[in-house]
């Protein structure tokens, strides 16, 4: 082993030290074949961190009251000491922007650099979801475009009008995502140049749509063909393209919200993996540096201290329990994949014949690149992790007066726990399945949405409010129906309410 020099270990940091650490960490990262975007590291204060926090991780955000609300909430909880701020925020962009907090000590900064600038960064660059759905090089451009466009709209049409529109779009933000079609990448310049032609074209399309209206001869004949011909799951897209009364600028704002929602869609689906990956690498990289004598014991102890609190998983009956901690689960699984590769047991050989005993680094990279939470868990959740976390599955059926323990961490239970946990991360099980079903083209122009419940789970209370927002966008009646298992259809909500 080559003799390496101990790096200065703070506790206070300087820019020279940050650079030095970044260099060293980069070397270790390259040793482990982490492939990253170039890093842009920005040092900010706690207050700026709160700003960044409240704009939901967008470095440049348009103005909206809800971000003000989030800011106030963050500030309150932070001031009361109920919550420490995140040590870092990292943005899926090229170059990859990471924020470091001024208050962090040198060991913490090193941890954050390893975690964000190499862990998250390499995940953003290589995971298939991010590769397919987001374009890291254009996002900053696009956010700038969005912010300027919305400011312009505010100047022209009034703050209130824009705020109302944004409220409505935000209510439907989860339904502004193409789940299966790959969107084409966007950048500010293209967007601008396309915008004008799109504006004209769109407006003409809308008129086209309504040209099918009144041919007076057969008013009673039922509309035969539905519009859209097949149900549309991207409600905001449908609004943008087909809402009859929206003005051009309003369509553009709907599009902006939709695009931003799309940008965040992969992050929603890879929480466990993304955090697990980043946590695994900050742990591995800093330990590697310690093993090579680059950092002191004091240094590694501080890192381990915060590492342990990050990967803490409170039990189901603990007052601190707040769902499964994605850091804990992700880290446990990543670490276990390495173990299965390096020191497989008989159990592992039985469960993971493909990877047991293989090259751990290759396997781990493969897992990171080609999965999302749902599939990652169903592929790689090992009996050992289930045992370590003492996972168990409850069956909660409304029609029964009690909950039933369906599976626990034993031989019979592993497979079921794994399946249940995987399903828990399947967005299509969590987000209600609501699609645009029909527009009454020949009648009152009403828009009908259909909700297909997953395992009889009803729609939550706020549906009435959301329908109101949708009505604001659509401009005519909006009806929400539920399709039950037996095919019967019942109306859930309607706006405006019938007299």
């Amino acid at each position: 082993m080559s003799k390496t020099k101990m790096l200065p270990d703070g506790p206070d940091w300087t820019f020279e030290m940050l650079e030095l650490y970044h260099q060293e960490i980069e070397k270790v990262a390259q040793h482990y074949q982490l492939d990253t975007y170039p890093n842009q590291i920005e040092v900010i204060t706690a207050e700026q961190m709160m700003d960044a926090y409240s704009s939901v991780g967008m470095p440049i955000g348009y103005h909206h009251w809800s971000y003000g609300k989030k800011f106030i909430q963050t500030e309150q909880t932070y001031k009361r000491g109920q919550m420490g701020l995140a040590y870092e925020i990292v943005i899926n962009s090229d170059p990859c922007i990471a924020y470091l907090m001024e208050e962090n000590t040198m060991p913490m900064q090193a941890l954050v650099i390893a975690h964000a600038c190499f862990g998250h960064n390499s995940f953003f660059k290589n995971n298939y979801l991010f590769k397919t759905w987001t374009d890291a090089s254009s996002i900053i451009d696009y956010l700038v475009f969005a912010k300027n466009y919305i400011s312009k709209c505010e100047a022209r049409h009034g703050v209130q009008a824009v705020e109302d529109l944004l409220d409505s779009c935000h209510a439907l933000m989860n339904y502004g995502v193409d789940r299966y079609k790959r969107p084409s990448p966007i950048s500010m310049e293209e967007e601008k140049s396309r915008q004008d032609s799109r504006a004209e074209y769109l407006q003409s399309q809308i008129n086209e749509l309504w040209k099918t209206i009144p041919t007076k001869e057969n008013p009673d004949v039922e509309q035969r063909e539905r519009f859209p011909a097949s149900p549309e799951e991207n409600i905001l897209y449908f609004i943008e393209k087909h809402a009859p009364l929206l003005e051009t600028w309003q369509r553009e704002v709907v599009r902006i919200v939709r695009k931003i929602s799309q940008y965040f869609y992969p992050q929603k689906q890879t929480q466990v993996m993304n955090e697990g990956w980043a946590t695994f690498w900050h742990y591995t990289i800093t330990n590697h540096m310690f093993d090579h004598g680059q950092v002191s014991e004091r240094f590694i102890l501080e890192i381990l201290h915060s590492h342990t609190s990050v990967v803490m998983q409170p039990a189901y009956n603990s007052p601190y329990f707040n769902g499964i901690n994605p850091y804990a689960l992700g880290f446990a699984m990543m670490t276990d994949i390495r173990r299965i590769c390096e020191n497989p047991t008989d159990e592992d050989r039985q469960w993971f014949p493909d990877i047991a005993g293989s090259d751990w680094l290759k396997t781990l990279h493969f897992a990171m690149q080609n999965f999302k939470d749902e599939s990652f868990i169903s592929q790689f959740l090992s009996p050992k992790v289930i045992r370590d976390l003492k996972l168990f599955t409850l069956d909660d059926n409304e029609s029964k007066p009690y909950l039933k323990v369906k599976a626990i961490h034993d031989d019979h239970g592993y497979q079921q726990v794994r399946e249940a946990l995987s399903a828990q991360y399947n967005l299509s099980n969590i987000e209600p399945n609501i699609q645009v079903h029909n527009v009454n083209l020949r009648g009152d122009r009403s828009l009908t949405l259909r909700y297909v419940p997953h395992q009889n789970i009803p729609l939550g209370k706020s549906k009435e409010e959301v329908i109101k927002h949708l009505h604001r966008l659509w401009g005519f009646d909006v009806i929400l129906e539920q399709v039950d298992d037996n095919g019967s259809i019942q109306e859930l909500a309607r706006c405006p309410k019938p007299e």
């Binding site: 204060t45 700026q48 003000g68 946990l421």
Partner: protein, 423 residues
């Protein structure tokens, strides 16, 4: 390679606009909270911002999410007691563990009922006095101009050397020199070219060349004699004195502390004083508060004594008015201070004394004051003092009287007094 950027010096208030939007949106709720909070404040305690609570349900953003019920499976960590097939009683709904599966709406925290945050002093006052103004006072303010502010007022041709404006003066000098020498220089250039030509041309007689040379010398001499700077080039910075309306105010709080005023009544009065004080802070930079309490005798006291010490005795209101007059004379010359007064009483007064009070107000105090408010806190019928004052209020626009029965009426009364009249 990494690129490091120090952003710490960038503005931290990126969210300020968003925060303003939030406050604007929930103005009505915040207003309600502010109005409730008025009660709990000490009169001069303004340094604190105000803590505001809004019901959580008012500010949630709706989105489609799954509700309770149906058939679902949940995987949880930390099994310490369950075996496969165990049956567990369903935990009560709404509890932490009872929320539906991970990632659902339950993390919106319907459990915590109030959304709490702080607003700054300025925001607080803006909301509290949203649509109020000091009545009829803007124009009278101008009469009492006593302070002057020296301000730049362009340039003059005369002044002391210290005030010379160098740039302007040199501009003038340059312009003058160009203007005065213009045609001479033109002529000079012409002569010089001619001289060159003549020198080339051997037919030109020598004398002609000499004449041109002489003229050139003469012109050069004249040009040289144009002075570089002349007295009428000089420009001086000019200063003028602008009158500024006095930005200081004194507020007299007069209160009856005779036996008939109990603590509850005093609290009502206190709230009125507080509102007036806060309101005045919006218009004036500096505010003095003078507390005068009285029974049969009047006394100037500090805030604590004003509100909390209890004395008994009869009531002679004029004693307080006299004292106020005396204090104004001694310490608050009318031309330097904006004088406000608020008097609170339960209306009990010696019958003989009430006409005296009226006379005092009419002759001395009301002409001095910007505004004088009298509130009577009682649930009984009005007595002589009210009737006397009632007549006065018809004559003086800066005198207003209001009748208050309980604490809830204070803010409406106050708003009524200072409602914006322009519309």
């Amino acid at each position: 390679m990494a690129h490091f950027i120090d952003r710490r010096l960038n503005g931290k208030n990126k969210s300020a606009v968003n925060r303003q939007r939030f406050i604007r949106r929930y103005k009505s709720q915040i207003k309600r909270a502010v109005n409730d909070a008025v009660n709990q404040r000490s009169i001069q305690d303004l340094e604190n911002s105000e803590s505001i609570s809004i019901p959580h349900k008012d500010i949630t953003e709706p989105f489609f999410h799954q509700g309770e019920g149906g058939h679902r499976q949940r995987t949880l960590p930390g099994n310490d007691q369950f075996g496969t097939g165990d049956k567990i009683e369903r935990p009560p709904q709404g509890e932490g563990g009872g929320g539906p599966g991970d990632g659902d709406a339950s993390d919106q925290g319907e459990g915590s009922e109030e959304f709490q945050f702080n607003i700054s002093k300025d925001e607080y006052l803006d909301i509290l006095f949203d649509d109020l103004e000091l009545p009829n006072l803007q124009e009278t303010d101008v009469d009492s101009i006593v302070e002057y502010r020296t301000a730049r007022a362009g340039f003059t041709n005369e002044g002391v050397p210290a005030n010379i404006n160098i740039v302007r003066s040199l501009q003038n000098s340059l312009a003058r020199r160009m203007a005065m020498g213009g045609d001479k220089r033109k002529r000079l250039r012409a002569l010089e070219t001619q001289l060159e030509e003549n020198k080339q041309d051997s037919h030109v007689p020598h004398s002609e060349i000499e004449a041109i040379k002489a003229e050139i010398t003469e012109l050069k001499r004249k040009l040289k004699n144009i002075p570089f700077i002349d007295t009428f080039d000089l420009k001086f910075n000019n200063f003028a004195k602008h009158p500024v309306p006095s930005s200081q105010a004194v507020m007299f709080c007069l209160m009856d502390v005779s036996g008939s005023m109990d603590q509850a009544t005093k609290d009502i009065a206190k709230r009125f004083y507080l509102l007036l004080y806060l309101f005045l802070t919006r218009s004036y930079e500096k505010i003095d508060v003078v507390f005068i309490r009285h029974h049969t005798q009047a006394k100037e006291v500090d805030e604590h004594e004003f509100f909390y010490s209890q004395e008994t005795g009869g009531t002679i209101v004029s004693s307080a008015l006299n004292l106020m007059d005396k204090i104004v004379e001694e310490r608050y010359p009318k031309n330097q201070w904006n004088i406000y007064a608020a008097q609170a009483s339960d209306g009990d007064n010696w019958a003989d004394d009430s006409p005296k009070c009226r006379a005092l107000l009419e002759k001395t105090l009301l002409p001095l004051s910007r505004h004088y408010a009298y509130i009577e806190i009682t649930s009984r019928a009005h007595q002589s003092l009210w009737h006397e004052y009632e007549q006065l209020s018809e004559i003086f626009p800066n005198f207003s009287i209001r009748h208050v029965k309980n604490a809830e009426e204070i803010l409406p009364t106050f708003r009524d007094l200072f409602k914006k009249t322009t519309a």
